[in-house]
Amino acid sequence: MIEGRGLTKIFNPPGKNRIIAVDGVDIQINTGETLALVGESGCGKSTLSRLLLLLIPPTSGEVFFEGQNLTGLNEKKLRLIRRKIQIVHQQPESALNPRWKVADSICEPFRIHPDALPHGRQVGEELEKLLGLVGLEPEQASRYPHQLSGGELQRAVIARAIALEPALIICDEPTSMLDVSTQAAIVRLLQSLQQKLGCALLFITHDQGLAHMIGDRTAIMFGGQVVEEGKGVLDRPLHPFTRRITSISDSCTLPLTEPQGVRPPGSCVYYQFCPKKTEKCLHNPEMREYKDRRMRCHKIPHA
């Protein structure tokens, strides 16, 4: 349904080294499916999700939505597509307009797309339905964002995201600031909304347990690249980076691997950290199919 091909984003902050935030990523999400995207902070997950929506222009690469190439579209046509793809952000604190009542933010999509309101329905009725779906009280929706707790805010953000019945919801660490029970409730909420609306989820998270629970497939990102992707990657990790993160125990006591030397230009993104590297790894490996997954690593035998 949505597909990114060769997506690359290079930031050139003035006076600084350029940052390759996303580096040649191919990604595909099918109708109704959940893809979990896991990776270190700063590895480019949020940038990738913004590229998929073309909220920022890619340095190179293309995005297809339901077969249509979005990359060349003008802002007006893009807006029509964007209502089918919604983002639930990492920081709900900054996702809603601080000067608006939460209810006004939730109903904003209907102001932007008045035709999206089901025939004969009032905005107020829709609001009530949305609040019911996400479990918020009308009184809470009449407050301003700074007057709600994190969990309440995230419910409001989800209510706005589902207002237009999107085909894809990109959830950028939607529960990283919620308590475990609210997290479970929000994840269950997203799953039931997915069932009801038939939408796909791109679920970005640091939490491997959660990725495991929710994802039909998992993609592992490192240094701007998807390095491993498939169904059982967290159970049976093959890529050295995936092996590394899945072996860290909860005790938080394992010493950190510090990078060794500098990354030679054009080498594998994991080169500085990899215990298995060989001379071959000075050339960045291509993405290749291997058994039930796709991977970027020279250590994998040719299929």
């Binding site: 902070s41 301003y144 600031m177 919620l178 347990g209």
Partner: protein, 312 residues
């Protein structure tokens, strides 16, 4: 062990759009010198507001009642100026919202350096050196390149680590950190954890508000569980994780992905605070007739208590 910071009968009530929210509603808590206390609990249960109240950092639209004492001084009776001095140098706060907490028009290095300049060191080049060390410490590398960056160019995890650096820059006695591992990945979490552990070894008292139970488990001496503006359980870490007592706390553990991701059914309602019964009653599978009256915090032994009739 000596108490360094405590609250007694603390209430913080907000008034907004004609409603009262009793964010903190009768909290008694003593934090021992040099201990690490993790506060866990539901979103909206008042953890952040409690943390802010312990620092006298509350917004204008609220009323505060009760006592907050730091080494015997009641902070709620101090002037804003007296509070400022204590806050910068003795009590420090690492806020929950990394993006909103940083000034977007100031470099990260300048913001981390500010408390050092104010409370520790007046020589700007020494301050800069200390900031570089702090950045290295929180793994924002290479520090020389990052020190003059603006917050917008940092990812969420990097911002969070910068905030921890800012919090510890003034060498406080008590550090209250609100969700220090929020939104950061497992490797960075290790470095924040190592960082807090190092502070703990220096004898700094830590109050860590967190949703990350394994993080709390790896770091804390004691665990306090909040629900609906109250402390429901406070216990030594090991005994808590070996068997939480309060039905809400048990529900929390069952909500973990590794335990099947079972949310607690129902939800908190502000109205549950007014009927005089146990605040968890409408969601509690153990509720009995007696729970129509709210249980007190029942002391089990020194430093360990639970607010539930099952343990009376």
């Amino acid at each position: 062990m000596d108490t360094i910071l405590e609250a007694q009968k603390l209430h913080v009530h907000f008034f907004a759009s004609g409603n009262v929210t009793r964010a903190v509603d009768g909290v008694d808590i003593s934090i021992r010198e040099s201990e690490t206390l993790a506060v866990i609990g539901e979103s909206g249960s008042g953890k952040s507001v409690l943390g802010l109240a312990l620092l006298g950092l509350l917004p204008a639209n609220c009323t505060v009642a009760g006592i907050v004492r730091y080494r015997g001084t009641d902070l709620l009776t101090l002037s804003e100026r007296e509070l400022e001095t204590i806050r910068g140098s003795k009590l420090a706060w690492v806020p929950q919202n990394p993006a909103g907490a940083m000034n977007p028009s100031m470099t990260v290095g300048a913001q981390i350096g500010e408390p050092i300049y104010l409370h520790v060191e007046k020589n700007r080049s020494i301050v800069r050196k200390k900031v570089l060390e702090l950045l290295q410490f929180v793994r924002i590398t290479p520090p020389e390149e990052r020190i003059d960056s603006y917050p917008y160019s940092f990812s969420g995890g990097m911002l969070q680590r910068s905030l921890v650096a800012m919090g510890i820059a003034g060498l406080p006695e008590v550090l209250i950190a609100d969700e220090p591992t929020k939104g950061i990945d497992i490797m960075n979490r290790q470095s924040v954890s190592a960082l807090l552990r190092a502070l703990r070894e220096k004898g700094i008292t830590l109050l860590v508000i967190t949703h990350d139970l394994s993080f709390a488990r790896s770091l804390a001496d004691r665990i306090a569980v909040m629900y609906s503006g109250r402390i429901m359980e406070i216990r030594e870490k090991e005994s808590f994780f070996n068997g939480p007592l309060h039905p809400y706390a048990r529900g929390m553990l069952l909500s973990l992905p590794e335990n099947g991701l079972h949310p607690i059914s129902g939800r908190t309602r502000e109205s549950d605070k007014y009927d005089g019964g146990c605040r968890f009653r409408s969601r509690c599978t153990y509720a009995i007739e007696r729970c129509r009256v709210e249980p007190p915090l029942i002391t089990l032994q020194e430093g360990s208590a639970v607010r539930c009739w099952l343990y009376d």
